[in-house]
């Protein structure tokens, strides 16, 4: 047998191995170096209450700066036709995002992606779905000159604000210099956004020791979230996000023109179709889901994960994505737990838009 079996087995193995190598070589390129999020600082971290927000040294917060940032956040005059403000797409009443499925900018133009939530974005190491901005300050500058979003230019926007005496005074009070700059606008908006933090939820109360804060079903959901559901593989840490980018097999709305996601920034083939992990906090307020709003409900989102993503190009699917085998009861428990992450922070959930009459004149 020793002498008989090996001449048969070995060629079969080598043939199959060669087949794999050939198929691999045809589809892969050497990825260029990319700037990665330092997960060592982010995590792996346990689920738990959020720590205090840390502001960058070059943009220390002050109450005047935060107030100015809030005014700018709700001011449609930042857009070219005075119809779109930051809050248009990052609406406090909608979990600090939009109605979806994707964002609507000036003249009713539809963007290709959904607005990422502003709440808890202070904890994101990179901003936008594809991480192209390294800070909230950098992010705040982007939509102003995006032709589909606010459709303005930085120069015209500054000129507009410079004609409003109330803003001129406010910028002088906050920054102590004139003329105002785009960087100051971005700094003020970012300072305000760092106050939009949801530190209290029934989950937070539970992990702080209030064992009655979660129902039995929600506790079950928490266990599945951290176990069989594999959710914490990406949604880890206090903000329920690893801050990284994953291709989870989202259905493309236009398969002929797929959204390349993080690849556009890094040019790394492994980032093709990868998008940033969003926080799960307040997720129940933010339907529809995913970067393109393709999942209308938490239930359908969990179904997507349960089947291991859509049947797309399997080679680029994140290795963390596998079918889960969840039962109906487990899915129900997961939804219940995610709803227990709704914030109980009135200072965040009750933020009211500043009406035009309340803005600087």
């Amino acid at each position: 047998m020793t002498k008989r079996a090996w001449p048969v087995l070995l060629p079969v193995c080598l043939l199959l191995l060669g087949l794999g190598v050939t198929r691999a070589a045809s589809g892969q390129q050497t990825p260029p170096p990319i700037t990665e999020v330092n997960v060592q600082q982010l995590g792996p971290q346990r689920l738990g209450p959020l720590p205090p927000v840390v502001a960058p040294p070059n943009n220390p917060p002050s109450s005047a700066k935060i107030h100015l940032g809030k005014q700018l956040y709700f001011d449609t005059r930042l857009s070219s036709d005075n119809t779109v403000s930051c809050a248009t797409c990052h609406d406090p009443a909608r979990g600090w995002t939009d109605a979806g499925p994707t964002s609507k900018g000036i003249r009713g133009q539809m963007g290709g992606r959904r607005s990422p939530p502003v709440s808890n974005s202070a904890y994101n190491p990179l901003q936008f779905w594809d991480g192209r901005a390294a800070s909230l300050e950098e992010q705040a500058k982007g939509p102003i000159q995006n032709p589909v979003e606010m459709g303005n230019t930085h120069e015209v926007m500054i000129h507009t604000l410079d004609t409003i005496p109330g803003y001129v005074d406010a910028f002088m009070r906050v920054f102590g210099e004139s003329p105002m700059t785009v960087q100051q606008v971005a700094d003020a908006i970012a300072a305000f956004e760092r106050t939009v933090v949801t530190t209290d939820s029934r989950f937070d109360r539970y992990v702080r020791g209030d064992h009655g804060a979660l129902t039995a079903l929600e506790q079950q959901g928490l266990e599945i979230f951290n176990g069989k559901g594999h959710c914490t593989a990406c949604h880890w840490g206090p903000n329920f996000s690893d801050g990284r980018f994953h291709n989870i097999g989202v259905a493309e709305k236009d398969p002929k023109n797929p959204d390349q996601g993080r690849y556009v920034v890094t040019k790394n083939p492994r980032d093709m179709g990868a998008f940033k992990t969003p926080t799960v906090r307040d997720a129940a307020l933010r339907a529809p889901y995913l970067h393109n709003g393709s999942e209308p409900s938490l239930e359908s989102l969990i179904e997507l994960y349960d089947r291991g993503g859509e049947n797309l190009n399997r080679e680029n699917l994140d290795a963390l994505i596998v079918p889960l085998g969840l039962s109906p009861q487990e899915k129900k428990a997961l939804v219940a737990f995610i709803r227990a992450l709704d914030s109980l922070n009135p200072e965040v959930s009750a933020v009211q838009p500043i009406p035009p009459a309340g803005l600087p004149k």
């Binding site: 020793t2 191995l17 346990r46 951290n226 069989k228 399997r314």
Partner: protein, 418 residues
């Protein structure tokens, strides 16, 4: 030495206990804050995520270089033990006793980017009585003190496609892992079976080097070069070689999702004449080496939380190892069919049924074996860990055909780790 070991273990246990007592769970789960069932269908059986984590050198896929090393985390030590009661009945009589079935001391983690280690120590267990030292010989404890695993993994030498594991390790040709089997009392019969004079043990861990990798479309391979098991001490200069190839169809690794098929082959040599030359390490130049082989395959099919696994292989030991009929090779075959199901939220309940068979040569029919096993495990725990299993297991085993030995083993135990 024993005192030093005791102090070391006690110290390690205290460190674990006081450093993060709220997360008193095994090393990897403790590191990440994950529940056990992130990586296990239910411990100890790995799910697809856990398999990928293991394949990637105990690094979360995509995170090589960003992992916290063992120098930045709590001491990565974990313990697993099983203790309970067995009722044994055979044609010779009936016994029952409490037992400590096993104790593993595990340590594992990332040393540097793409360099990790895995270590398992099994202390000697004198059982069932505290001063028991074995039937007659005084040399047969229920568990030997041994370094079961001690290996370093060099991952992603070619990304995904080449990893090297060096040291003592569980070889990849055990396509169904006997180390991560739900069953505590019953293992795979074929893994522990060998020709009448061949000391090779298929289920034993090996010392050597193993290359593994994966390619697109679910193709995985393993190639190994090892001393071979069984000879004590290693007493020839031949190395045993093996090759494993598997492919998974559909999403997953075939552990808990996707459908996997695999084949393996092992070619080994054992000396039939003792050596005369001994190295400082104890290996000798034993001679008159004779070959043996194992060739087989496995299949793993999944549907939701139902997993059907089957494995079978054919074994041939050179006639020199055949004391029953020295004119012919000792050829035998056998395998296992196992079906596992997981239920209740977060797989808190698992059940399993397993059938093993071994078919030795017809002139050695006394070793013919059939065994039927079933088990149920219910896990206690919380969102942080489900690490205590209430375990009930039954096996009916028959050997030697119709007139041979039949026995029944019923075991109820606690299986826990932290």
């Amino acid at each position: 030495m024993k005192k030093i070991l005791t102090i070391t273990l006690a110290g390690a246990a205290l460190l674990i206990f006081f450093s993060e007592s709220a997360f008193a769970i095994p090393a990897f789960a403790r590191k990440y804050g994950f529940n056990c069932n992130m990586c296990h269908v239910a411990f100890p059986k790995l799910n697809d995520f856990g398999q990928r984590f293991r394949d990637n050198g105990y690094q979360i896929p995509g995170q090589a270089g960003l992992e916290q090393t063992v120098f930045e985390t709590a001491i990565p030590i974990a313990l697993r033990t099983t203790a309970g009661h067995s009722l044994y009945n055979s044609t010779d009589g009936t016994t029952s006793a409490f037992h400590l079935y096993g104790l593993d001391v595990l340590a594992a983690g990332v040393l540097h980017k793409n360099i990790s280690f895995f270590f398992v120590y099994t202390p000697r267990i004198d059982d069932p009585a505290a001063d028991y030292t074995g039937p007659g010989s005084g040399n047969n404890p229920s568990q030997l003190g041994a370094i079961e695993s001690a290996n370093v993994v060099f991952s992603n030498l070619v990304p995904d496609k080449l990893n090297l594991r060096v040291g003592r390790f569980e070889p990849a040709y055990q396509l169904l892992s006997s180390k991560r089997l739900y069953y505590v009392q019953q293992s795979f019969e074929m893994y522990g079976f060998a020709g009448t004079k061949n000391p090779f043990n298929f289920s034993a861990n090996q010392i050597g080097i193993e290359a593994t990798g994966r390619f697109p479309h679910g193709v995985k391979y393993a190639l190994g070069l090892v001393n071979g098991s069984g000879a004590d001490p290693k007493n020839n200069t031949f190395k045993d070689v093996y090759v494993v190839l598997s492919e998974t169809f559909g999403k997953g690794e075939g552990q808990s999702a996707g459908q996997r098929v695999g084949v393996f082959g092992y070619l080994g040599h054992q000396p039939t004449v003792s050596g005369t030359f001994v190295s400082p390490n104890g290996d000798t130049n034993g001679g008159e080496n004779r070959g043996f082989s194992r060739v087989g395959g496995d299949i793993s099919l999944n549907w939701r939380t139902l997993n059907l696994q089957a494995m079978a292989f054919r074994a041939v030991d050179d006639r020199a190892f055949n004391v029953v009929q020295s004119s012919s090779d000792y050829t035998f075959y056998g395998g296992v069919v196992q079906i596992d199901w997981a239920g209740l939220p977060n797989n808190r309940l698992v059940t399993s049924a397993m059938y093993n068979w071994v078919r030795p040569p017809s002139n050695d029919d006394a070793r013919r074996t059939d065994s039927y096993s079933a088990l149920g495990r219910y896990y206690l725990g919380s969102w942080q860990a489900v690490n205590v299993a209430l375990h009930g297991e039954y096996t009916r085993r028959a050997s030697g055909g119709a007139s041979g030995l039949k026995n029944n083993l019923l075991t109820v135990l606690l299986d826990f780790d932290f």
